[in-house]
Symmetry: C2
């Protein structure tokens, strides 16, 4: 498998690079002229025939140039690709962008804006997965009395979520009682994730606060809803960018992708399976059939080492891997820093 001598690697590198730029099958002549490989077209032809037999290249038809196969891209990404830095204008754009972002305190907005920036800067479609409320830790919970027997429950998590819910307040409570309940809940729950609210734990809370069962129930209902309701956590950016790729001039393919983009649950699942560091899925390495002609590059972002969500870029298999990887890693790092300050 790794049995590619240096010359073959050079040629494969040239083919991939060229094809990524032009989207046209690459011929032997092109390579011998445009790349620093001092070999004649004929020699390169022989090598390319070998590379095809080994599975790294394919021919769309007999008398066309070669294009990288999925295996070819994989080898390129694993062994050949040269790391690139951020371009200066990219760097500046990001700095400006994150300065804007610091003003926002709510994670929803941050995530949505990140998706936008990611697609603008890469010129591909971006997918961003927001943190799961369920896996977020309590920071604070508050109860705000309102008029006509209602009250507002406010929940703030360490991941930057602020969630409100209006509840009925079964009987009038004075401020002292409210303070007591809230203080108790905060003491008990602070720092724990919502998912750890097991039935046993709930029983304990209920018995500790047996004097205020009604109001406690209402507040806990909100938590349960947060734990159960799987709200849409995926944000897209630059959907129209796929139309710039010649491989998607076919309307049928497009339809499959655009339809997928509207299926929040499946996208969530997809991104949840990529929560560990950088991941590159090429073509059929993607589980979703709709993405068999695409590559997806993802990186996770985290708070205190705990992974919260994923940012990703989707493009054709003919993607500018090196550039996108650099950008994604940069953004995920900056996002980490930002979230730590929430």
């Amino acid at each position: 498998m790794a049995g590619l001598n240096e010359r073959k690697q050079k040629i494969l590198h040239a083919v991939v690079t060229d094809y990524i730029q032009t989207a046209e099958p690459v011929g032997s002549r092109t390579i011998s002229r445009h790349y620093q490989i001092d070999l004649s077209a004929a020699t390169i032809r022989n090598e390319m025939a070998d590379l095809e037999e080994l599975g790294y290249l394919t021919q769309p038809h007999t008398s066309a140039g070669r294009i990288p196969s999925q295996q070819g891209y994989r080898f390129y990404v694993d062994a050949l690709m040269d790391a690139t830095g951020l371009a200066r204008e990219e760097e500046e754009y990001l700095t400006r962008f994150f300065m804007q972002l610091e003003k926002m305190r709510e994670i929803d907005q941050i995530v949505q804006q990140t998706a936008r920036a990611l697609s603008v800067i890469t010129r591909y479609t971006s997918l961003v997965l927001a943190p799961q409320i369920k896996q977020s830790a309590f920071k604070q919970m508050r109860l705000v009395p309102m008029e006509n027997g209602k009250a507002l429950v406010v929940l703030i998590t360490d991941t930057g979520y602020i969630r409100n819910k209006v509840i009925e307040m079964p009987k009038a409570l004075n401020q002292k009682e409210i303070d007591f309940i809230v203080a108790y809940l905060n003491k008990e729950l602070s720092g724990q994730t919502i998912a750890t609210l097991t039935a046993a734990r709930l029983r304990k809370l209920r018995s500790d606060l047996y004097l205020h069962t009604d109001i406690l129930n209402s507040m806990l209902t909100m938590l349960e809803q947060c734990a159960q309701n799987p709200e849409n956590r995926v944000f897209l950016g630059g959907t129209s960018n796929i139309l710039n790729q010649p491989e998607f001039k076919d309307v049928e393919k497009l339809k499959h992708l655009l339809t997928l983009f509207e299926e929040g649950e499946r996208l969530t699942l997809l991104l949840e399976t990529s929560m560990d560091g950088l991941s590159i899925r090429i073509g059929t390495e993607n589980v979703l059939a709709e993405m068999k002609d695409c590559s997806l590059i993802t990186a996770s972002y985290s708070l205190h080492g705990r992974p919260l969500g994923t940012i990703g870029v989707l493009g054709p298999t003919r993607m500018e891997y090196a550039r996108v990887i650099t950008i994604i890693e940069e953004i995920s790092q900056r996002l980490n820093k930002l979230i730590a300050t929430l």
Copy 2:
């Protein structure tokens, strides 16, 4: 202009109906056979030639059938179209959907879900404009002290927005002072829209509460942000539905539309100009150049007679006008009722 005798109207009606269904140019034979018009194809041909000369029909090329012109659709919508009721399954779907919706109390979610339902049921792309915070009236404002010198401002509007902002609390205030400030603000502002907060009004508030300038400033900052920050208020549903329309098999057209879909500000502007009852814009009647081959049907929804936002359906000019209009009117009415209960 209105000089169409009954026979011509019947024929125009038949052409539009047929073309809406098939998307193929309609020939004279088709009409004479499939519609209750007891005329030979030849007669219909003559009438169709007249209709073309009058501008209601066009021919894609000399020896093809006729398709309605923009003017043809306009006449159809204004005079010919027969009103249809909701299909039973549509009715059932809507009832079920709005029962779900009643559980949600926040307007953002309601609006987003409405966009989804609208696109599912019409099988076109839907656009929904959420109420403007600025034009919403205060219901309540609250200040919740938090640890380490911070506090949470909560704003609730009559349109169902709940907005939070964490602010610095300049000096420690006791509960009594907080209660006083909040009570005063609520008394002063209740029932008024945020946009009415003129400079003069703000001055009065500041002088009335001169003892608490710092905290007041922080709270008012939030209101100013609500008034200024034009957040994205447009929600889309069923974007991929445009791909089912044969008129959009051309990737270039698609690109223009999809790009437009990402431009929130322009969409907002578009929908804001349709805030009065039902509106039907056919082809170039739409201001946006990207929509010159589309029709947009919109209806506004309101609270106590005050229009809050718009729901709309976007399709090709060859749209099922009657069906879509019925659905849009139904949904906007149900939405009105729902919002009144918030």
